[in-house]
């Protein structure tokens, strides 16, 4: 009988060990923006977020105050001084939660700015950057459709 308490004590002591399968203290490097781009300096706020299940992408739409006000107004008519930015990522499985997908490789940034125009319509500039370094693309194909899409989005409810 003397050995039993010792054996049980050892059992309790062993129970202090634990498995650790979760990577700790890790940043999502693949999804991060190049620091040189200084995206945060644009001073934009999150307006809404999207998922495209067929393409397995996820995107977050940002805007400045003017863009936000215009989007809330829902008129679709752009005002000068709006800035909208859409960041799109390939999705990856969440390593920490089976049942979730998170941003993976950074795919693109679309940046829209409106300025003073003519005949009551603001001038719209659209820039398209791709890849992990956010390299600017000169291709203008489909640009008008993207501008219309970006200006048509409704902000998510953020009480």
């Amino acid at each position: 009988m003397q050995t039993k308490p010792i054996a049980l004590g050892a059992l309790l002591a062993l129970s202090a060990c634990s498995q650790n399968k979760v990577p700790a203290g890790q940043l999502n490097k693949a999804a991060s923006l190049p620091t040189t781009f200084n995206f945060s300096m644009l001073g934009l706020r999150v307006l809404t977020t999207f998922i495209n299940r067929r393409q397995a992408t996820t995107a977050t739409l940002y805007g400045n105050d003017r863009a936000r006000q215009a989007a809330l107004g829902g008129t679709g008519a752009a005002q000068p001084g709006e800035v909208l930015a859409l960041l799109t990522w390939r999705q990856q499985a969440d390593p920490n939660w089976f049942g979730a997908r998170i941003p993976g490789a950074l795919q693109s940034l679309e940046l829209l700015r409106t300025g003073p125009g003519s005949m009551g319509r603001p001038a719209v500039s659209y820039q398209y950057f791709t890849g992990k370094d956010l390299t600017q693309r000169a291709d203008t194909l489909g640009q008008q459709a993207r501008i219309a899409y970006l200006l048509a989005q409704r902000p998510a409810v953020l009480p």
Partner: protein, 301 residues
């Protein structure tokens, strides 16, 4: 002397009974047999104590585990849970198993038959995945989102009384001005989320000092219903909740160094009846204990 003490403590035996099974968990045989073998001793009213479980001081720990286990998840009263809660519990259980947090190591050490093999995990994952259905949004879901959007008055005055969670943490309206540090598509429960971090969090990310996170870190995680169209385009529908994690290893020492809070619906109704609601938060975040209890892998902008 030691022997006498050992015999003596055997009389300190708080009762551990098996209450009736009122609505047992139902699942395909392959799934149920794994759950019964690995979980039922602590998570059901069909606890089967072996002789060595009944020997103090081990018994005291066993009795505690069973009590806590049943409180968090009880497969014997399963049918009393709404279907959405059943699904959430199953996904959480599978994630606890994947992370190695469950079954408890001290339990499987004495009960090796309860160990969950890689093959068992595959069976469980396949089963819960089969429960996840995210069809295109129906009219009811679309209408609910539209109604909520119309009633949402951004920029309007906040309610006179700021909602406060039972542990004293108040709703922080400023989260909307914080930076997004990640987003999540939760196909397990049909929601989509943005995780915001305050300036302290963003600096910690930039400095790569995120384990542990510095005091003053604040996260806000916002969840919406998914509104999917037939082409698989998904946008946020009805706002479900905003959840906060506020880091202060002194102030919140009793709750793993974090202040936890959840406010539901656009009315921002505080979650939990008493301050003890945080045990639920901590239990779910427990598998991340080596990551300062944080699930999110942040990205930097």
């Amino acid at each position: 002397m030691l022997g006498a003490a050992f015999v003596g403590i055997q009389f300190v035996h708080p009762p551990l009974e098996n209450p009736p099974v009122t609505g047992d968990f139902q699942a395909p045989v392959a799934v149920k047999s794994i759950v019964q073998r690995a979980c039922y001793d602590c998570h059901s009213n069909q606890t089967n104590l072996r002789w060595f479980d009944k020997v103090a001081p081990v018994y005291w720990q066993v009795a505690d585990h069973v009590k806590d286990g049943r409180a968090g998840l009880n497969f014997s009263t399963w049918q009393s849970l709404p279907p959405a809660d059943q699904k959430a519990k199953l996904w959480e259980a599978v994630n606890q198993i994947i992370a190695g947090a469950m079954p408890l190591n001290e339990y499987t050490l004495a009960h090796p038959a309860a160990k969950v093999s890689a093959q068992d995990v595959a069976v469980l994952k396949q089963y819960v995945a089969s429960l996840a259905k995210n069809p295109p949004a129906d009219t009811a879901k679309l209408n609910a989102a539209d109604r909520q959007y119309r009633h949402w008055q951004p920029g309007a005055a906040q309610p006179a009384a700021v909602p406060v969670a039972p542990n004293g943490i108040a709703y922080l309206p400023d989260y909307k001005n914080w930076q997004a540090i990640s987003t999540t598509e939760r196909f397990d429960n049909g929601t989509m989320r943005v995780i915001f971090g305050n300036a302290v969090a963003v600096k910690a990310i930039r400095d790569k000092h995120i384990n542990p996170w510095p005091n003053g870190t604040a996260f806000a995680k916002v969840a919406w219903d998914q509104l999917a169209d037939a082409q698989g385009n998904v946008r946020p529908g009805a706002f479900k909740q905003v959840e906060y994690m506020l880091k202060d290893d002194q102030k919140y020492a009793a709750t793993k160094g974090w202040g936890w809070a959840r406010f539901k619906t656009p009315k921002l109704v505080p979650y939990g009846k008493t301050a003890l609601f945080t045990t639920e938060c901590i239990r779910c975040h427990q598998p991340m204990k080596n990551n300062d209890f944080v699930f999110t892998q942040p990205l930097s902008h």
